[in-house]
C-alpha cells in the first residue's frame, strides 16, 4: 500500500495516480470516539486545500474535515452513510472519506510523512 501523508488537521492522503484518497487519521478517530454520522461532499464539487470538505460527528462532537489538497471530488465512500463505524474500525482503509482528482499533485509534498505526523501527534 502506498505511504500515507498527513495534514496537521489530522487528515491523511494516499496518492493513486492523480487521485488523492482522503480520510481521517487513527489519532483523530480515537480522539473523536465512536463516529455516528459522516457528511460527505457531492461528487463533482471543487475543493480548495484547507477548505471544509466533510463533517464527521461522534458521540462527543461534530468536526469539520478539511481538504488536505485541492481538486475535484470524484468519488465518496457511500458505505459510511450506513456504517459510520468504519471510520473507527479502519480509519486508513475502509473508512476513507473521498477521492479527489488533484489540481496540483505537488501539494502532497507539503504534507507530513508518517514519522513527522507521529512526532507532531506525540507533542499534542
Amino acid at each position: 500500500m502506498a505511504e500515507l501523508r498527513y495534514s496537521e488537521e489530522h487528515e491523511w492522503v494516499r496518492v493513486e495516480g492523480d487521485i488523492a484518497v482522503i480520510g481521517i487519521s487513527d489519532y483523530a478517530q480515537d480522539q473523536l470516539g465512536d463516529v455516528v454520522f459522516v457528511e460527505l461532499p457531492e461528487p463533482g464539487r471543487a475543493v480548495a486545500k484547507g477548505e471544509e470538505a466533510a463533517v464527521v460527528e461522534s458521540v462527543k462532537a461534530a468536526s469539520e474535515v478539511y481538504a488536505p489538497v485541492s481538486g475535484e471530488v470524484v468519488e465518496v465512500n457511500e458505505p459510511l452513510a450506513d456504517d459510520p463505524g468504519l471510520v473507527n474500525r479502519e480509519p486508513t482503509a475502509g473508512g476513507w472519506f473521498m477521492k479527489v482528482r488533484m489540481a496540483d499533485p505537488g501539494e502532497v509534498e507539503a504534507l507530513l510523512d508518517e514519522a513527522a505526523y507521529d512526532s507532531f501527534v506525540s507533542g499534542l
Binding site: 465512536d34 454520522f37 458521540v59 462532537a61 463505524g85
Partner: protein
C-alpha cells in the same frame, strides 16, 4: 399490554414505569362520553378511517403514570445541579406566587389594553431594570429563549447594515462561545468564522483583528466565556470591532457572574440577549419555557422587533407595528413569555440592586471555592481565579484508563447530576462545573468531598469500576453509539413490530 407489565419488577418504592401505550387497554377510560349522535358528514371524505391509536387508561392509572414519571426527574428542587454554563439556580417560590396573581395569570393577550395596564407596566418596569443592569438604552422582551434572542439580535444587526446599504456576510465567533452562537449566525444566513483563543483562555486579540474586515457583520462574544474566564481585553476587542464597522454581540448566558458589577454597555457591547431563565431565576431545564430578551445600543433601536410598551394618550400601550418601517417585525406570537417576565421582576425587586450584586459575587465565590477545593487533585487548564464556573481538563486522568465521561457517570452513583462534559471543545476532556450562588458552604463541601473521593478512586487505578458506572441508577450506562446510530424514535404496537420483523 397488561400481560407485559406483569413481568416488570419494582424495587423498593422505585417503580419501573412502562410507556403509557404499553399500559393502555381498549375500553378503559377516565370518563364515559355519550354515543355520538347521528350527524350528516360534511368532511367531504376527509374523515379519519383508521383508529387514532390513543391508549385507554383510567384516571388513577394516568395520575400514577405521570406522578411516577415526575419522580424520576432530577431537578434543582431535588439537589445540586452543577451543569456548566446553564446557571441552574433556585427558583424562589415568591416568583411563583406572584406569577399566579389573577392580574398576571388570568389575562389574555387580546384583552383591551385599558384592562391590562398593570401587566404592561410590569413589562415596562422589567425593561427599565434590564436597561439599568446592562447599561444599554433599549430592550426587546419578546424572544422566547436564549438562542431565539441571539437570532433576533443578529436579525436586528442585519437590518441595520442593510438599511445603511452595507450588507455583510460573515460573523466571527470565538472557540469559547456558546455552541448556539455559530448556529444562530448560520440560521441568520451568515458565514461563520472561528476566532482562536490565546494561552490564557481568552480571545486572541491579534487573531480577532486579523479576521475583521468590511464583510464582518458582528463579533459574538460570550463573557464570561465558557472557560469561566472574564474577557479582560474586551475594551480592545470593542474598539477593533467598531473600527471595522461591525457590531459587538454579547451572549448573556453567563451574565449571572457579573450582574450589578459590570454593565455590558459600558464595555462597548451593541447587542446582547439575557436569559431570564438563567440569570433571573425563572424555571428551566424542563421546568418552564425560557425567555431571552435582547438589549440594544442606540444605533440598533430603529431596527428592534415589535412589540414594545410605550406611553400613550390613555396610559401604556403596546406598539405592535412600526410606523417608520425599519423594524424587521415580530419574532413571536403575542408579547413574549409573560409568566417569565413576572418571575424575573419578582426576583429583581425582592433582591434589589445590592442583593443582585451579592448573588453574582456569591456565584463567583462558590465556583472559586470548588476550584480551590479540587485544584490539587484535578487539573486546571488556565491560571488564575475563575468567574461563575470552573473548568477542568482531563490531564489529571492521564494513564488512569478513566475518562471524563466515566467521572460524570460516577457522579450519578453519588447522587449528583453530572457537570457539563466535553464542552468547551478548546480544552481536552473538559469538565465544567457551575455551582451557582444557590449552594451553601455545607453543600459545596459535600460536592468537593464527593468529587475528591471519586478522583482518588480513579487515580488508585480501578478503571473497570468506572466503566461500569452508574451502578445504582434506575438505568445503567446506555450505549450512546447505538442510540445515535440506530435511534428508536417512536413506539409501535407489538403486532406491527412482529410484522416488521418477518
Amino acid at each position: 399490554m397488561s400481560a407485559g407489565t406483569g413481568a416488570i419488577r419494582h424495587r423498593g418504592l422505585r417503580f419501573e414505569e412502562p410507556l403509557i401505550f404499553e399500559q393502555g387497554a381498549e375500553g378503559k377510560t377516565g370518563v364515559d362520553l355519550p354515543d355520538v349522535p347521528k350527524i350528516k358528514d360534511r368532511l367531504g371524505g376527509l374523515a379519519r378511517k383508521t383508529p387514532i391509536g390513543l391508549p385507554g387508561l383510567s384516571e388513577p392509572q394516568i395520575v400514577r403514570h405521570f406522578t411516577r414519571l415526575s419522580q424520576k426527574n432530577y431537578a434543582i428542587d431535588t439537589g445540586l445541579y452543577p451543569l456548566g454554563s446553564c446557571t441552574m439556580k433556585h427558583n424562589p417560590r415568591l416568583n411563583e406566587k406572584l406569577a399566579r396573581l389573577p392580574g398576571f395569570g388570568d389575562i389574555h393577550p387580546l384583552q383591551p389594553e385599558s384592562t391590562v395596564q398593570g401587566a404592561l407596566a410590569l413589562m415596562e418596569r422589567l425593561s427599565d431594570w434590564l436597561k439599568a443592569l446592562t447599561g444599554m438604552p433599549a430592550i426587546a422582551l419578546s424572544p422566547a429563549a436564549g438562542a431565539h434572542g441571539e437570532w433576533t439580535g443578529l436579525m436586528t444587526i442585519r437590518s441595520a447594515h442593510e438599511a445603511a446599504g452595507d450588507a455583510r456576510k460573515r460573523v466571527l465567533v470565538p472557540d469559547s462561545a456558546h455552541g448556539t452562537n455559530p448556529a444562530s449566525a448560520a440560521m441568520c444566513g451568515y458565514e461563520v468564522a472561528a476566532v482562536p483563543l490565546n494561552a490564557r483562555g481568552r480571545v486572541d486579540l491579534g487573531a480577532l483583528k486579523a479576521a475583521l474586515d468590511d464583510d464582518v457583520a458582528a463579533f459574538m462574544l460570550t463573557n464570561p466565556n465558557t472557560c469561566g474566564l472574564f474577557e479582560d481585553e474586551i475594551l480592545d476587542q470593542a474598539e477593533a470591532v467598531h473600527e471595522a464597522g461591525a457590531y459587538f454581540y454579547c451572549d448573556g448566558a453567563n451574565f449571572n457572574a457579573i450582574v450589578g458589577r459590570v454593565r455590558p454597555g459600558d464595555l462597548g457591547i451593541d447587542c446582547m440577549h439575557l436569559n431570564l431563565h438563567k440569570t433571573f431565576s425563572t424555571p428551566h431545564g424542563g421546568g418552564g419555557p425560557g425567555s431571552g430578551p435582547i438589549a440594544l445600543c442606540e444605533a440598533l433601536v430603529p431596527f428592534a422587533p415589535v412589540p414594545y410598551v410605550a406611553e400613550g394618550p390613555d396610559g401604556l400601550r403596546l406598539v405592535e407595528s412600526d410606523a417608520s418601517g425599519t423594524a424587521f417585525g415580530r419574532v413571536k406570537g403575542f408579547h413574549g413569555q409573560m409568566g417569565m417576565f413576572v418571575r424575573a421582576l419578582a426576583y429583581i425587586l425582592s433582591h434589589g440592586i445590592d442583593g443582585l450584586r451579592q448573588a453574582s459575587s456569591d456565584a463567583v465565590l462558590n465556583a472559586n471555592y470548588v476550584s480551590a477545593g479540587l485544584a490539587d487533585l484535578m487539573s486546571l487548564p488556565y491560571e488564575g481565579p475563575c468567574m461563575h464556573e470552573v473548568l477542568f481538563d482531563d490531564a489529571f486522568l492521564k494513564d488512569t484508563g478513566v475518562t471524563t465521561l466515566d467521572l460524570a457517570k460516577a457522579m450519578i452513583d453519588e447522587g449528583y447530576h453530572p457537570a457539563t462534559i466535553y464542552f468547551p471543545l478548546v480544552v481536552h476532556g473538559a469538565l465544567l462545573l457551575e455551582p451557582t450562588e444557590t449552594e451553601s458552604k455545607e453543600s459545596l463541601d459535600h460536592l468537593i468531598a464527593t468529587l475528591r473521593r471519586i478522583v482518588e478512586r480513579a487515580l488508585a487505578g480501578k478503571p473497570d469500576e468506572f466503566h461500569a458506572a452508574p451502578v445504582d441508577a434506575p438505568r445503567r450506562r446506555f450505549d450512546e453509539t447505538a442510540a445515535a446510530r440506530r435511534p428508536v424514535l417512536r413506539w409501535r404496537p407489538p403486532a406491527a413490530e412482529d410484522r416488521a420483523a418477518e
